[in-house]
C-alpha cells in the first residue's frame, strides 16, 4: 500500500536543463542514471560549463564511465556523501548568480546536498531534484535530536537515545530529515512489531 503523504513530504521531479551559466550536479548511486537521461535533452555544449560530483556507492559502477563521457568541465567521484559535501560547499562559496544546481539519487543525498545549498544562499525552489534508488530515510529523533541514517523500518530504534520512534512523513529541509516521535510514549510496555517500510 502506498502511504498517504502530507505536504511537508518533499516531491521530487525529473531533472531538466535550466537556463544558466554554470551547472553543478550532485548525485549518488542510481542518481547517475538521472543525469545521463537528462543529458539526452541537454543543448549542445551544456556540459562544458558543468561540474559533476558523484558518489557511486554499490549501484554506481555502471554509471561512472558514461558520466565521464559527458565531458563535464570538472568530474569528481567520492566514497561517501560526507566526503563529498566539503567539495560542494567550496564550489558554491565563491559562485555567482546563474549557477544552477541539480541533485539526483537517494533522499539522503538530495536532502544533505540541498541543506548545503540553502546555506550558500540558493532558494530551494530553484533546485532541480530527481529521486532514484533507495528510499531509506534520515530520521531526526525529536526527543534527543540525534539523526539516525539509512532508516528502512517502521518503527525504528533511535541510534542515539534508544527510544522506539514512529517515522512520520513530516520532513525538514533545514535538517534534511524526517521526524521520529516516540511510538509508545503513553505506555512504554506496548512494543509494536518492527517492519520494513522504506526501501
Amino acid at each position: 500500500m502506498t502511504p498517504k503523504t502530507i505536504l511537508s513530504r518533499p516531491v521530487y521531479g525529473t531533472l531538466s536543463p535550466q537556463a544558466g551559466t554554470h551547472h553543478l550536479f550532485v548525485a549518488d548511486a542510481e542518481g547517475g542514471g538521472a543525469i545521463l537521461d537528462m543529458a539526452k535533452a541537454a543543448p549542445e555544449g551544456f556540459f562544458a560549463g558543468a561540474h559533476i560530483i558523484y558518489i557511486p556507492r554499490e549501484a554506481g559502477a555502471a554509471y561512472t564511465g558514461p558520466l565521464q563521457a559527458l565531458k563535464p568541465a570538472q568530474y569528481y567521484e567520492g566514497p561517501s556523501i560526507a566526503a563529498a559535501l566539503p567539495r560542494q560547499k567550496q564550489t558554491l562559496a565563491p559562485a555567482r548568480m546563474g549557477r544552477r544546481l541539480y541533485l539526483a539519487g537517494t533522499e539522503g543525498l538530495i536532502g544533505q546536498a540541498m541543506q548545503a545549498a540553502l546555506d550558500a544562499g540558493i532558494d530551494h525552489g530553484s533546485i532541480q531534484t530527481e529521486q532514484r534508488g533507495s528510499l531509506a530515510r534520515r530520521v531526526q529523533c525529536v526527543h534527543c535530536k540525534g539523526i539516525t541514517e539509512d532508516v528502512t523500518t517502521q518503527p525504528v530504534r533511535c541510534s542515539h537515545c534508544g527510544l522506539l520512534l514512529f517515522v512520520r512523513d513530516h520532513y525538514s529541509r533545514r535538517l534534511a530529515a524526517f521526524q521520529g516521535v516516540c511510538i509508545n510514549a503513553e505506555d512504554q510496555s506496548e512494543i509494536p512489531p518492527i517492519e520494513e517500510a522504506f526501501r
Binding site: Q18, A19, G20, T21, L92, P94, A95, R96, M97, G98, R99, R100, A120, G121, I122, D123, G125, S126
Partner: protein, 321 residues
Amino acid sequence: MSTGASKLDVVVSNVVPVNELVTRFHFRRADGGLLPTFSGGAHVIVEMRDGERARLNPYSLMSSPLDTSEYTISVRRDDLGRGGSLFMHGKVRPGDRMVISYPVNLFSLDLRAKKHLMLAGGIGITPFLAQTAQLAAEGGNFELHYSVRTAALATYAGDLRARFGRRVSIYHDDRDERIPLDRLLSSQPLGTHLYICGPAGMIDWARARAAALGWPAETVHYEHFAAPQPGVPFDVTLALSGRTIHVAEQQSLLEAIEAAGVDPPYLCRGGVCGQCETNVISSDGVFLHNDHWLSDEDHASGKKIMPCVSRFAGKSLVLER
C-alpha cells in the same frame, strides 16, 4: 472580514518642486504624533478630494523608514493621465489636510539576500530611496543602478550619489548610456536578489535577461503599479447591491463602484495586490484588462476583472458586487 488598510489624517507640511516634472510632498500627522513605522518599499494610498471627485492613488514612501516624524512622496506630473498627478501638482498646498492609508508593502526586501541589486528607471527610484536608507542603517549590501532621461530629470540622483558614492550608478538616456544589464547579472554573488522598479519595458527587459542568465524567479522582485487609464465611458450592473452605475471617461471602475456606495477591499489600486478582484456574472463586449494580478486564463475567461485598473467596452456588463 475586510483586509484593507487603516487610514491616517495628515497635514501637508511642505511641497517642494524637485524638477520640471516631479514635486515632493511632505505629510505630518494631523494630531502631531508620530506616523507608523514602515519598511522600505511600502506605499500609501493618497485620497484626493477634488470637488465632487475622489481619486485614490498609490505612491511609494521615499523617506527614511527610520524617521516617522513625516512621510514623503514624489509625484511625477502626467499630463495625459486621469488628473491625479495634476491635482497634486496644481491644487495641494502646505497646510492642507489629507487622508492617506497606513503603509502597505507589496515590494518588500528579501532580508535573506546576501546582496541587493536594484534597478530603477525614472520615477521608479522612489521605493529605492527608502530601501537604501533602511539597508544602509543596517550595514546591508546593496548596489543601485538608475536610468534617467537627462541630468535635469535625474530625480534625487545627486542625493543618492552623495549618500552612497560608488554604490549608485546613473545612466543618462540623452548621453546614450545604458545599464550594462548582462554584465551586472553575470557578476553577482550567489544569494543576490534583484529588484526592479520603472517603466513596464524596463521591467520586462530585466526579468527576461535575468531568467535567461539563470536567475531563479524567487530572486527577482519588481513593482509596477498600473495607473488606471482613461477610456470610453460604459455602464455596469452591480448584481448584489442591485445598482446600475456609469463609469465616466476619467473615472476608474473601482472609483465608480465606490461612488455608488459599495466598498470593495483594496490595497494597491494599481492592479497588483488582488484585493478588489471581482466576479463577472455576465458580459456582452470586450474586457480591457490592465492588471498584473489575474492569469492569462482568467483574462481570457471573461469571468473576472480587477476594477482598479481595468475597463470594459460593449453592450452590457454585470458584476457580482
